[in-house]
Symmetry: D2
Subunit: 342 residues, 4 copies
Amino acid sequence: MRAAIIGATGYTGLELIRILSRHPEVEITALTSERYVGQRYDQVYPAVGAIASRVLEPLNADAIAPRADVIFTAVPHKEAMQVVPSFIKKKKKVIDLSADFRLTDKATYETWYDAHTAPELLAKAVYGLPEINRKKIKKAQLVANPGCYPTSIILPLTPLLKDDLIDTSAIIADSKSGVSGAGRSLKTGSLFCEASESFKAYSILKHRHQPEIDEQLSGICGKPVSITFSPHLLPMNRGMLSTIYVTLKRPMSSSSVQNLLTSQYKNEPFVRILPEGTLPQTGWVRGSNYCDIGFALSGRRLVLVSVIDNLVKGASGQAVQNMNIMMGIRETMAVDHVPMYP
Amino acid sequence: MRAAIIGATGYTGLELIRILSRHPEVEITALTSERYVGQRYDQVYPAVGAIASRVLEPLNADAIAPRADVIFTAVPHKEAMQVVPSFIKKKKKVIDLSADFRLTDKATYETWYDAHTAPELLAKAVYGLPEINRKKIKKAQLVANPGCYPTSIILPLTPLLKDDLIDTSAIIADSKSGVSGAGRSLKTGSLFCEASESFKAYSILKHRHQPEIDEQLSGICGKPVSITFSPHLLPMNRGMLSTIYVTLKRPMSSSSVQNLLTSQYKNEPFVRILPEGTLPQTGWVRGSNYCDIGFALSGRRLVLVSVIDNLVKGASGQAVQNMNIMMGIRETMAVDHVPMYP
Amino acid sequence: MRAAIIGATGYTGLELIRILSRHPEVEITALTSERYVGQRYDQVYPAVGAIASRVLEPLNADAIAPRADVIFTAVPHKEAMQVVPSFIKKKKKVIDLSADFRLTDKATYETWYDAHTAPELLAKAVYGLPEINRKKIKKAQLVANPGCYPTSIILPLTPLLKDDLIDTSAIIADSKSGVSGAGRSLKTGSLFCEASESFKAYSILKHRHQPEIDEQLSGICGKPVSITFSPHLLPMNRGMLSTIYVTLKRPMSSSSVQNLLTSQYKNEPFVRILPEGTLPQTGWVRGSNYCDIGFALSGRRLVLVSVIDNLVKGASGQAVQNMNIMMGIRETMAVDHVPMYP
Amino acid sequence: MRAAIIGATGYTGLELIRILSRHPEVEITALTSERYVGQRYDQVYPAVGAIASRVLEPLNADAIAPRADVIFTAVPHKEAMQVVPSFIKKKKKVIDLSADFRLTDKATYETWYDAHTAPELLAKAVYGLPEINRKKIKKAQLVANPGCYPTSIILPLTPLLKDDLIDTSAIIADSKSGVSGAGRSLKTGSLFCEASESFKAYSILKHRHQPEIDEQLSGICGKPVSITFSPHLLPMNRGMLSTIYVTLKRPMSSSSVQNLLTSQYKNEPFVRILPEGTLPQTGWVRGSNYCDIGFALSGRRLVLVSVIDNLVKGASGQAVQNMNIMMGIRETMAVDHVPMYP
């Protein structure tokens, strides 16, 4: 299988290379960049010296499409919707890591982002959360790879929403992300000295992942949901933790909650429900495609806690998991990294 | 003024020394330790070489009391209640940094901690949050210095509770603390490799600061309050941020909320209400006695965000602020550090 | 192939599990611990939940040997020499990650460490640096896995020493290590708050890796070498960088130095000589078995800079590389991790 | 005393404000910025809310000079030499934190930097290392505030050079700096994800602080010295450690070295010679103006280790120390911060 990565020099592009370069069924056949065209990839990232030495090329769909079976678009939103259609037309399978095809509703997209230039693809795109949409992903030509925050929030909530166990009007997600979620672009807030030994809240009630979360949760429970969503920035590279507050419609025992979560995910290779009483930490999933979930319960107040590596299950790992599903190969292939601890 | 620090070799003890050794009205006359008796203080902490070279002595109230006007007890809970009574009997002013005298109700204390051996002092102790209790602190002989989490939660909630503006049955505080909050004792979870590049939730719904928070909030609004409290551990030394979720009883404009907070704290030297739309970060208060507060609002959902340095306003800075009040000197004396950024 | 890990709950033990649990030719058949006997491994390290759930057993060579073809001893020095002989007697292949069999001279060992209780094995043990000793490792029954500092220092110096190009009386190695090098034991200096946002020198001219480095370098150049060695502690989990100062016997051009390094290591899968002018950073090898080497030159003053991940090429990765060689399988098998960046 | 800060929005500008805003003899009367003109200072840095609310103005020497007795220029090199002359002409005292007036030789400056546009001031400028040049600083109109690396290297070497005790042809300084040394400008290498959990060497044998170090050391020992200088970047905000390798001309005992260092600095308020056998860590001087020095000795090989806070003794603290000297007030005034640990 031949894979092209469009926008290969951001952190999600690099993470795709970390994963795909050890994928037994994949050959990387094109890497594009705007800024580094003509340089060898390992000049941009010496970390992958001897592993990824392909020269970066400009984005030219006509030139790239014949060389690739699957296209990963790892460019910012707005750019993605300009790139994806050409590959779709050429019958390529596309996994888009931007936000451009995650919302089904054009108007919602345009409220939170910009004018959409490829709205005809919105209905075609499948939201690439395998634990929810595996069957659709299998047949999809275009997969919209989920955002990191949404992944960490939707997975723990799904079992509760499916069984209609919680008050959907009062869901709160307090989420914390490592700095790599902000990408490699030059922003003052991403400087070491601004983020290190500090912690902040940002975009509370205004973050663009909010409508994505709301749409997916609404789909799961069959009625409109709008959560309270508060993102925060952690002084670390990788890792995301969401603390999610819900109110049970009626009291449940701790072991019932445990059973509910466990039975929902018992066949999922990348979701680990922690033993009762254990709360997760991001270090436990570092570098891996796992989502670990724990909880605390008191009366009808249930607090769910989930962790992912924002660059793996929150981005590139999930993208390769989606690719494996789309291509009909073993879902865990090349994304079965053991977490790196410490 | 002569000050003794009981339990001087923990991080709060060291922070007391950082502050008091530059206090123009204070002379440190005794430092005690269990583990390091006979050593010079700067052998334990070379950071204060040339500043704190006093030899550590064992705790002997008879020997220390004649040399001190004010006693800071910076020992763990349970030890504090064994130490404090002897100094109280000797008519010394005591500022206790442990949890032992923060709860007024013996039974509540014993539910969350241990049997209380000095319950007769519970009524005598004043909860040392100057922004709430300044008048009582002024006359107190025994001040129970507040916990770091409670300080960060009570300050932003007070104006709303006082005016009866929020639903008190659904308050959620999602709090995050730097590792120094765990002290200097040897625990696996406090090791660098366990905490660095990682983030975790712990003791959700079970943390011992919960009853302290509940008691204080109940006192402010005049009816029983029990919040949902979730602590987390940040990969950094100092700093604490609390994200607090409340529901307004009736809609308020953003500027009304801003005015409410600003007017409540306009004369407070250590509370800074941020401009509307600005959310705080812990780095902004590093090393200082400030509590910075911001918020986000959407409909009746209000999210308050506060930051403190857990070792300063969350512990030793507040203790010295209390001492200043008790001693009738300028409240900001020696605790007016400019935040160190970066 | 069946592998047992003696002392599985330290960080090198955990790293062995990270690597071996994805090794296609290896089955882990025993994990021992003193402290955690009877617990499931993933209770000690939830990070490897669903990956390593074997119950920890006490160290009993009679019970373990029949189940294992290769034994990794990841216990502290002094313990290792008590454990290794029994497995050697039972004809097992042993890779010892401690310092106990790294020095050939009993007296030197006893000067720097303790009385040696298995001196008869010193001659039998092969120093497990594959780039130097591959042929001997192939036939070894007992491999002494090199220390992290020595690995980072010997590899860049070898080409220069072999060709007798430098003054061996004035070699200086200024080395810096992440905190994981200190292991998981409880020491004040390993606490987060002691190591974070700080950097220190320690054991300068007195570190126990010094005689190991000296012995190996002496062996390579055929005359006694004693370097100046200065270790330092970095505020990060993983990674080691050595800056090595040497004086060339006669001037060389920059490209000659480059060629020398490149030609020495051109067939080595885990040594990457960086392009001229590029100096390495530890992040480029994080989680991988690579050693990256760069240099700067001015006149006869040559400064070599090398980086490794102290837990991989500096410990467990190199151990598995050694195992692969001893067992006659592909040397890179299961240790070909792509560095994780960021 | 009225002080103006030219280039107030970089990290050294902010650090000047942290110090000067608590200086009992100083009033800040002008803050300039290119990028943030018209904004209040605390809008740029909310950390100093309620402390520094002055509006940033453009750099206009005619407008500023009448309002200021002392001028701090905290702009990049090249800009400084365009700004300083106008204030010198107006008889103002100037402390320049850039490199523009640190070298006495125009040609050397132009080799390492750019064409010098104010060479007539080179002879007038005094190198502002108080421990070496206090008397000259007292009378100076223009002080060139030393670089951080030079400060950390010159202080420990001075006693040895003065007494002609070491081989000046083989001095090596292996220095490590926190990221704040790179300033607040947007560079990929200063991003959190590039610097965190990583460590690198850079500019070895090519760093611009090299000629500054060489010139000062040469002045102290009265003959040309050229050291080997290797800078490195630490994953932390503040702090600098230099490990300095020298060869004694003849053997000295450890206590002789200790006495030499101690007697040189016994009256210096900001140099702390550590007890024999103690090596320093950067955390011990965090936020303070101290330089801590320790050493290790073996035969004629002496290793000196020094630490400073690069933003305090390495920049703004030393600048205020210089101001105090120039103005004839107590040298430690407002720079006597107790180190903040942890």
